[in-house]
């Protein structure tokens, strides 16, 4: 089963996304900021990242650019998830190399379908 890393500083949001994804059978791991996510990504293979934007230490933009700057992680798809006030920043997310942008809170079916689509794994 595909393994997804949720990168978000808010424990509540992590819990919400984890539940949604686990209910669909994905293996889920969590990181509280971009730096921790990057560390985890070096030791564990993930198939997709779900990334918040505003986080301490390393924000989502930086994390995605760091991903794209590293050969072995570059091609892992990343979905940015953020609150609507940041909609204007979606362009910045794409410029950093994010594959998709969802508004938080993402509707369960929206989140799972996006993940499935990008991984090419229909239910």
């Amino acid at each position: 089963m595909a393994r997804v890393l949720i990168v978000d500083d808010a424990a509540t949001v992590r819990m919400y996304h984890r539940k949604i994804l686990e209910d669909c059978g994905f293996e889920v791991d969590e990181a509280v900021n971009g730096l921790e996510a990057l560390e985890k990504a070096f030791t564990t293979r993930y198939d997709l990242f779900i990334v918040d934007i505003n986080m301490p230490k390393m924000d989502g933009y930086r994390f995605v650019s760091e991903l794209r700057a590293r050969e072995e992680l570059a091609q892992v798809p990343a979905i940015m998830v953020s609150t609507e006030s940041e909609t204007k920043d979606s362009d910045r997310a794409f410029a950093a190399g994010a594959n998709f942008y969802l508004i938080k809170p993402a509707r369960p079916v929206e989140l799972t379908t996006s993940v499935r689509l990008m991984l090419g794994e229909p239910a």
């Binding site: 500083d9 808010a10 424990a11 509540t12 949001v13 819990m15 919400y16 539940k19 730096l35 990057l38 560390e39 070096f42 505003n54 986080m55 301490p56 230490k57 390393m58 760091e66 991903l67 794209r68 700057a69 590293r70 050969e71 072995e72 992680l73 570059a74 091609q75 892992v76 798809p77 990343a78 953020s82 609150t83 609507e84 006030s85 979606s90 362009d91 794409f94 410029a95 190399g97 994010a98 594959n99 998709f100 942008y101 508004i103 938080k104 809170p105 509707r107 369960p108 079916v109 929206e110 379908t113 996006s114 499935r116 689509l117 990008m118 991984l119 090419g120 794994e121 229909p122």
Partner: protein, 936 residues
């Protein structure tokens, strides 16, 4: 409470604490950008979290207002002042009260919502403040957005008469019948629509009999009119876009609906929607609304048809007005219906209006994407997401994306093709990734729904290609709606040329790829650089968060739980023993039982103490993580090449110990870099590898944690140290001659000693190893230094695992009890009076061949009493290690050693340097613990 809500409450409380603190900090230091960022992030995350719970919309709304204000502060549009602080603090107070409601499992109290709404308005006013200074000649109504927000905060099923001047939208929300299972709350969603003016809820189908009634199926239709922009409504209904129809009404039609007046008809009345220059989307929406009206008309019942006709007419009027069509004929048709008691006149109007719009029955007109055969039929949800993801990828590939971005995009696109069952296309897309062909990928996206992934040469040239036809020679279609459809012939053609196209684009892009790879920044090629980022980002963070939260493994807590269980059982034996003692005639037996029970409780207490100590243990690695950055920066500055090795980061010690280690360690590492390691040419000349090595190792040895820092630099030259010490008058010639090399090297620990010819700005100005030593000794640690000239230096730091409990020896002198810390005590001896000699008025004795100076404790404490020898005429001497020297303290007698919790002296007593603290003894008396170092 459900776990998610529970988590939300816990996390929110943490945020509230941090926000309150942040606000106070900011008030003291308004320019502290770090504090503003942190504060903003807290409020932002709080809002994001609450967004998960639509039932607490008022909560989200209020926090959102606070966030916007802080955003303005962060951007420098507003100066943070006491007024803003007051408002935000009040905001957090209300939020905290709301959290109480949430925690109690209740809905938010209406009074709180009310207060929150008011405060949100004043927060917004504060944010917009002077910027919204407008000519006050006209009493401007609230701007639509603001009106919308005011109304959306909570349950206003029918909000007042605040009709905005523009942007009135009618919506019809028909939830799916199984919507409750998808977590939708249609009534709540509709009732919270922005700027809601009116809401009507009707049954979609006639209600079933009681027996057949299924409460889990939604049978509702919700219609409403909102004074808000269409975008706002689309945003509001973003989770159910396929279930909502919307039409934009002219400004006055909503007013008309409210007060019953009919707007002026458009003089140029045209009664069909076709040819009005509508966008594809608008036309489809209007078509859907019209189709619904047919349905509505077809379902009239004798008792409701008049109302139904009026509602249909209302919808048609709105639709007509929105598109600049007059509605005299609609009003006439309604009159005709009412007169003839038949819906036909309205149906005829419908026919005319619908003429030329998309045909279709109950289901929406098939979108072009369904035209091409699919191996897997996507649901509406999926198809919609596919379109959104494709749009996202177009943006992602916009401009000059790096090879990495191209490959990330291609992986996801290939995934989507696989999802659809088009594995061949997936392979073709992967080929494009290999070739770093961004244009090719853009073409793939543009022609996605045409069914082929391989780009043609024409498509590549035309990128970016949102609207370009996929086949090269395709004639420009004459009708606009055809822009996304692909003719079957064209599709076949491109499929046939696919492999060739891939090959061509791959070859063509090969050179491009090579260049791109070469262009990539150096960091891209390696997984490394993480250390650098980590220390770059982490160094500041450690200082902030080091003592905020102690993370403890589950295991340690479990052990505590077990022990407390045992303790409860053991304690229960005591009342039983007391009852026995009351009636017993055998006190000796009772005493024995009490002692037994003491033994049990004592064991548990000791284990608990140990377990609690464990909880405070932190890995020393916590302070190691800043070294890589430190070493990198300094070595670069000095032009030296250094490799840093760290081992044993997992070794644990008490939190206080670990924290007290940080500064001395940094100092030592800096010294090594600055004075120890040589520049590359000097190393080469000495026959050493150009890259020097610094090694930091931590491990546990008995009850101490040992940290060793070693380098392979030039070592410390004992002759230079001696010369320096002579020069500074710290030692005399004779002493210098007598010093061994090892002893000479130890002089670096002497106060104010610095050997660097030129004081560098890195490893201190006169602050030397003496500071390191005193910091470590303060934590009851020890430091040893050994150095070999030309080979390197090694510093070994030993620290107790814990400082919380101190092993103390009790001594008696002048009929008083004193304590001395055991780690200072070398030994206790009885010295016969005749073995004590007076040399230069200093009492001394010889112990194991060494001369040990003796000081009576009474003299040190200015107690005018002589030490008391025992019956054999021997004096009790406590031998204490002071630095490198052993010193004897004459006391009256030795007593037991105890583990005690030392408390430092407070207040006025704090100035008594001769004591290191006090401790409570078992009988309740206070023991003064001596600090021999200060006394001597």
């Amino acid at each position: 409470m459900n776990p998610l809500l529970e988590q939300f409450v816990i996390e929110s409380r943490d945020f509230l604490d941090a926000i309150a603190k942040g606000l106070l900090t900011l008030e003291r230091e308004p320019g502290n950008t770090e504090a503003i960022d942190e504060l903003f992030r807290g409020v932002h995350t709080l809002k994001g979290n609450s967004g998960l719970f639509p039932e607490y919309a008022a909560f989200t709304h209020l926090v959102h207002a606070g966030e916007d204000l802080l955003d303005a502060v962060r951007d420098g549009q507003r100066n943070f002042d006491a007024e803003i602080a007051d408002h935000l603090l009040e905001c957090m107070d209300i939020v905290s009260a709301m959290l109480d409601c949430v925690e109690a499992g209740n809905a938010l109290a209406p009074t709180l919502c009310e207060a929150g709404k008011e405060l949100a308005l004043s927060l917004r006013a504060l944010r917009d403040g002077p910027l919204t200074v407008q000519p006050t000649s006209e009493p401007a109504a609230a701007p639509p957005e603001q009106a919308a927000e005011t109304n959306s905060a909570d349950c206003a099923y029918s909000a007042g008469s605040a009709v905005a001047d523009s942007g009135t939208v009618q919506f019809r929300y028909t939830p799916e019948s199984d919507c409750f299972f998808k977590g939708d709350d249609p009534l709540f969603t509709a009732a919270n629509a922005p700027g809601l003016l009116n809401l009507r809820v009707t049954a979609l189908q006639p209600w079933a009999d009681n027996d057949a009634f299924d409460p889990y199926q939604c049978n509702l239709q919700l219609e409403g009119i909102c004074a808000a922009s269409r975008e706002d409504l689309e945003q509001h209904f973003r989770y159910v876009p396929d279930q909502v129809e919307m039409i934009t009404l002219a400004a006055n039609s909503a007013q008309a609906m409210q007060d019953g007046t009919v707007p002026e008809p458009d003089p140029q009345a045209v009664d069909t929607l076709a040819g009005r220059g509508l966008s594809e989307e608008e036309e489809a929406a209007a078509g859907r609304i019209l189709r619904c009206q047919y349905e509505v008309l077809a379902r009239t019942q004798p008792d409701n048809r008049e109302g139904v006709w009026r509602s249909v007419a209302l919808v048609l009027r709105g639709l007509a007005t929105a598109h600049g069509i007059g509605h005299v004929h609609i009003d006439e048709a309604l009159d005709a219906c009412l007169k003839t008691d038949s819906g036909d006149p309205l149906a005829r109007v419908l026919d005319r209006m619908a003429a030329g719009t998309r045909p279709g029955g109950n289901t929406p007109a098939p979108a072009p994407r369904h035209a091409a055969p699919r191996l897997r039929t996507l649901s509406d949800d999926e198809a919609e997401l596919v379109d959104r993801i494709l749009a996202a990828h177009l943006k992602m590939l916009d401009g000059e994306p790096t090879a990495a971005v191209v490959s990330a995009a291609s992986i996801a696109l290939a995934g989507m093709r696989r999802y659809e069952g088009r594995n061949d296309d997936a392979t073709a897309i992967a080929g494009l990734s290999q070739a770093h062909d961004a244009a090719g990928l853009r073409a793939v996206i543009a022609s996605w729904h045409g069914g082929n992934s391989a780009p043609t040469a024409a498509a590549r040239e035309a990128a970016p290609l949102q609207t370009a036809p996929p086949a090269a020679p395709a004639p420009q279609p004459s009708s606009a709606p055809a822009k996304r459809t692909v003719t079957a012939a064209a599709a076949r053609q491109t499929v046939a040329t696919a492999p060739a196209a891939v090959a061509r684009s791959a070859a063509g892009a090969a050179a491009e790829t090579a260049a791109a790879v070469a262009d990539r920044p150096a960091a891209a090629s390696a997984s490394g650089g993480l250390e650098a980022i980590r220390s770059e980002l982490a160094e500041a963070a450690i200082d902030h968060s080091a003592n905020r939260v102690l993370k403890v493994s589950q295991e340690k807590i479990d052990r505590l739980m077990d022990l407390i269980g045992e303790m409860v059982v053991a304690k229960n034996a005591l009342p039983y023993l007391a009852a026995r003692a009351e009636v017993s005639t055998n006190p000796r037996e009772i005493a024995r039982e009490i002692k037994n029970q003491y033994g049990v409780i004592n064991r548990i207490a000791e284990e608990m103490q140990d377990a609690i100590m464990q909880v405070r243990m932190l890995p020393v690695g916590n302070i190691f993580q800043r070294f890589p950055r430190l070493v990198r920066d300094i070595s670069r500055k000095l032009g030296k090449q250094v490799e840093l090795y760290m081992e044993g980061e997992d070794a644990e010690a008490d939190k206080n110990i670990v924290e007290s280690l940080a500064d001395p360690l940094i100092h030592i590492v800096r010294n090594s870099l600055d004075h120890g390691l040589e520049p590359p040419d000097e190393r080469r000349a000495a026959g050493k590898p150009e890259t020097g090595i610094i090694r930091i190792t931590a491990f546990q040895e008995a009850d101490r944690v040992i940290i060793e820092i070693s380098d392979d630099g030039r070592g410390i030259d004992p002759d230079r140290i001696k010369a320096k010490a002579l020069e500074r008058g710290m030692i005399d010639e004779a002493r210098a001659a007598a010093l061994t090399d090892h002893e000479a090297v130890q002089l670096v620990f002497a106060a104010g000693f610095s050997t660097a010819e030129q004081i560098s700005d890195l490893s201190g100005r006169g602050v030397g190893m003496d500071v390191v030593r005193s910091a470590i000794e303060k934590a009851h640690g020890s430091v040893q230094l050994s150095s070999e000239l030309g080979r390197g230096t090694r510093i070994r730091i030993g620290l107790p695992l814990s400082m919380a409990v101190t092993n103390v020896m009790i001594i008696r002198s002048a009929e008083q009890m004193f304590g001395v810390q055991m780690d200072m005590v070398v030994e206790t001896v009885r010295v016969p009076a005749k073995a004590i000699h007076e040399i230069k008025q200093q009492r001394t004795t010889v112990l194991r061949g060494r001369i040990v100076p003796l000081y009576p404790l009474n003299d040190l404490l200015r107690i005018p009493t002589e030490p008391v020898p025992n019956e054999d005429g021997e004096l009790a001497v406590l031998v204490i290690r002071l630095g490198d020297q052993d010193v004897g303290v004459i006391v009256d007698d030795f007593d037991a050693t105890l583990d005690l919790i030392l408390k430092p002296l407070d207040g006025v007593l704090g100035e008594l340097a001769g004591y290191s603290g006090t401790a409570l003894l078992g009988d309740g008396s206070v023991l003064m613990v001596l600090n021999p170092k200060e006394l001597l």
